[in-house]
Amino acid sequence: MRQMAGRLLGAVLLLLAGAASAEMPRLPHNSRILATGGATMIEGAAGGGIVPWAVLAGYGSSDEVGASGFYTHVDLKDYSLDAFGVAASWHNRVEVSLARQAFDLGTLGRALGLDDHELRQNILGVKLRLSGDLIYGRWPQVAAGMQYKHNLDFGIPDAVGARHDDDVELYISAAKLWLAGLFERNVFGNLTLRWSRANQGGLLGFGGDRGDGRELLVEGAAGIFLTRHIALGGEYRQQPDKLSFSPQSDWFDAFVAVFPNKHLSLVAAYADLGTVATLPGQRGWYLSLQLAF
């Protein structure tokens, strides 16, 4: 599985490199201001690390297209997560994204003597910018999004009480950048409300023995640009708690994002996911690479 994922990633990167060298013939692109496409969060949407933001992937403005590809690795105390995918945006209005996540059960997998050490899921995302602009105007940029998630390994989620191996989540996000907002630096904030019943983002299925209804969950991000190339920030993501076999903690991260140019961005973060599948103290490093066109 690892090999296949690696090959798929290679193919995606080749495709993106090809698109870059062809400079997206005849399609105007790339005119939005640096960093306004954000990074790519672990579910494939433009955002931070764990929260989808109201911004759209790539740098296409109102008559243009944009695209991005990402690879992220999260190394927690007892687990690790790999995620990769691609996203495209049209006229800074619609974003479509595809991502694959592979969650390595590590310690727990060995303790349980499992053959299958991985939980994988595919995620199809669609995001629609409803109104506003991140930088210009008085009001924030507002977007509504949908994520369709499908588990590829449902044996363990099923065994611990999850009800569904696929589900749709809906969210609405508002994001704003304040020029010279704080200490003469540009400051941004994003608030996202998500309607979900996903266990650990869906890697442990959807719904559970403690309830099958979706809940309104709060997610937020805030940060500051030290220069136009470097941002520091943090994120919070509330989680539902639908499986009695293990409590589920809310997620946090603190990140530094680097945007050397419009084609490359790197995010390094410290993530705290709390208790994950009975094992507490799941903290660790998050590294993400994004290419954009």
Partner: protein, 145 residues
């Protein structure tokens, strides 16, 4: 369990609130930080050079009286930055009406200005303060479709 979570959320919210509260402040000393009359003139010259070289947007200036554009732009930036000038030109809406300027063209001009400020070694904070004063013009310049 609640306490550390609550604290961290409170921290994030506080940061966001402070950010909202600190609106782009008055242009105090911005004119000086831009280098006064000489600094503003040098910045405008660099900016105009960038615009002329930018194939994305230089066609918009094909019939522009560059001498007048230059003097009005210097005057405008000087006035905005709190310098001893009064802008005597037409409103941003009048100047750009009917040109069909879209988001892409507007962003290209912003990038040319940022590039000019970088060339002039203007610091990040000063750049941000000037951009904060210019950003509200977006609504008068970009044509909605």
């Amino acid at each position: 369990m609640r306490s550390p979570t609550t604290h961290r959320v409170a921290g994030l919210l506080l940061l966001m609130c402070v950010a909202v509260g600190m609106d782009a402040r008055a242009a105090d000393r911005l004119y000086d930080d831009l280098g006064g009359a000489d600094g503003v003139a040098a910045l405008v010259d660099q900016f105009l050079g960038n615009l002329a070289d930018d194939a994305r947007i230089n066609h918009f200036f094909a019939e522009t009286n560059l001498e007048r554009f230059r003097s009005k732009l210097i005057e405008h930036l000087c006035a905005l930055a709190g310098g001893p000038c009064t802008y005597s030109g037409d409103s941003m809406h009048q100047v750009h009406a009917g040109l069909g300027i879209g988001e892409a063209a507007f962003n290209a001009v912003v990038e040319d200005l940022i590039e000019a400020m970088e060339r002039r070694d203007i610091g990040t904070g000063t750049q941000n303060r000037l951009l904060a004063l210019l950003a509200p013009m977006h609504g008068d310049i970009v044509e909605r479709r």
